[in-house]
């Protein structure tokens, strides 16, 4: 798979399938691992980074996983391509911005991503559409076993898998579920959800993880604790809380419809209208309006648009994607025009490229 092909398709996890996929966008589990014989990356000079990247890269490509797998040497990629992978959730911002030799293995369906020389030597993730944490765990557990048969991980009897940051030590696991919660945002109940989650030490982040804002009413719920509990217990904790949040979101949606159906329908239709007709539009406004439209489809207020298309538009209207689609670098103002044009084409039922 090359990055040009990647630009025009979309990952399995955006397909809008799987349990509760009206609210749960995706489930993701990642593991952090380090090789025992090397220093962590903060103390790894360029030579060591090259050594780790080259030896791990080859081993990862040869893993007996579902083929084909692609390996990208991230340090050799253009800025725009690195940003594309970030927007696509296939690599982290940290891997994109790091220096020195580093890489990523990707599966064709974009479910599997294994990063080399991120904050830890290895960061592997499995992502699926909808609420599917068990599937993610079974796959990532197997991948971890396969890698472990090739290398020696830094591990201690007491502290488990040793990581560069003590917040990941132990299981090195991050279990996260991405939720679309527009009604809880509108009714301002979202703060209560945050507080409740905080109390049971679960973290809430935006679409692009640490430090990113909650764009398009997307929220990632994940565990914070990684030590002293088994992987199953940590997964269970997230699994238990998600249905409750889904329940509150549905309740808030029902209340919105009940209180003011016409008002809501109007607001959603206007959002859809702007997206279909705008001549220039920012990324922020796009996310905001797409969020309304997405909820409108789920409430049956819009019936000529599919959820997978909307999911894809959230990703494809971002800066690097737009520039890749257009095939040329664009300034912010030009991107807004290109974004509006792309949206008009996609939402009129014509596939971009057919007619300009």
């Amino acid at each position: 798979m090359d990055l040009e092909t990647l630009t025009h398709k979309s990952g399995e996890w955006l397909k809008g399938q799987g349990p509760e996929s009206d609210i749960v966008i995706s489930s993701r589990i990642r593991l952090a691992r380090n090789l025992a014989q090397y220093p962590f990356l903060s103390r790894a000079d360029d030579r060591v980074r090259v050594e780790i990247e080259e030896s791990l890269g080859q081993k990862l490509i040869d893993l007996p996983l579902k083929k084909p797998l692609s390996y990208f040497k991230v340090h050799t990629l253009e800025n725009i391509d690195r940003q594309l992978l970030v927007e696509r959730q296939l690599i982290s911002r940290e891997l994109s911005d790091n220096h020195g030799s580093r890489g990523v293995v990707l599966s064709d369906e974009e479910n599997v991503s294994i990063m080399v020389n991120e904050e830890d030597h290895l960061r592997m993730q499995v992502i699926h559409s909808g609420l599917a944490l068990d599937e993610c765990w079974n796959e990532i557990d197997r991948i971890d076993d396969l890698i472990e048969s090739e290398v020696t991980y830094a591990f201690s009897q007491q502290l488990g898998y040793l990581t560069a940051c003590p917040t990941n030590v132990g299981t090195g696991i991050r279990v996260s579920v991405m939720l679309h919660l527009p009604a809880l945002v509108v009714t301002k109940e979202i703060q209560k959800v945050f507080q409740a989650l905080h109390k049971i030490s679960l973290a809430v982040r935006g679409l692009y993880g640490e430090g990113s804002q909650a764009m398009g009413d997307f929220y990632q719920i994940s565990n914070q604790v990684t030590l002293g509990k088994t992987e199953e217990q940590l997964i269970q904790q997230v699994k238990e809380v998600v249905p409750r949040i889904i329940f509150y979101e549905r309740q808030a949606r029902t209340a919105l419809v009940k209180d003011n159906r016409e008002g809501l329908h109007d607001q959603i239709s206007r959002a859809y209208g702007i997206l279909k007709n705008a001549q220039t539009i920012s990324s922020e406004e796009t996310m905001h309006l797409l969020s309304s439209v997405r909820m409108g489809i789920n409430l049956g207020l819009i019936d000529d648009l599919e959820i997978p298309t909307v999911n894809e538009l959230f990703i494809h209207t971002q800066p690097a994607h737009l520039q890749k689609i257009k095939g040329t670098p664009l300034e912010s103002g030009e991107r807004n025009v290109a974004r509006a044009s792309y949206l008009r084409q996609r939402l009129s039922g014509r596939h971009p490229g057919e007619v300009n």
Binding site: F40, L41, S149, F155, Q157, Q158, P166, V169, T171, T230
Partner: protein, 175 residues
Amino acid sequence: MKKCRRCSKPATLHITEIVNSEVQTLHLCEGCAQSYLSQQDQPDPDEMSPAAAKLIEGADLDELDHIVCPNCGISFREFRSQGRLGCPHDYIAFEAELMPLLENIHGATQHCGKCPKRAPDSSQRQYELIKLRNELRSLVEGEKYEDAARLRDQIQSLEVELAEDQPEANDKDDD
């Protein structure tokens, strides 16, 4: 030209005072001199502030900061400022400092999840034991006493097995 005793500006005023029958000269810039003269009761800059005194008392914190990992050469202070450790050995080198931190972050200091399959057989079973004890705790918390009793028997037999396998006391963690 002399520098002001309180800031780095040139000292333009030289104040001579007699304190406890001793002559003291202060070299100050205009700004500092004015504030000095308007607050005569302000402590002498050489006198230690209570905050500074506290810092000296807490000198062991400073000592901790200077502990260096013999393996990768990172100091605890460097770890504190960048939030990233330098190598796996740091968890041993900074053990005394890290344990309270881990307790704080995770509420625990003992791993009980997955362990590498390539780990030695005895430590595999040690792990099994840790894992089972952890499960036992949650069963008891959940008041599932029958399951807990069954698990307790399993734990006991595993303990006996392990004791038989390892006649010498060998409960020390290795690196």
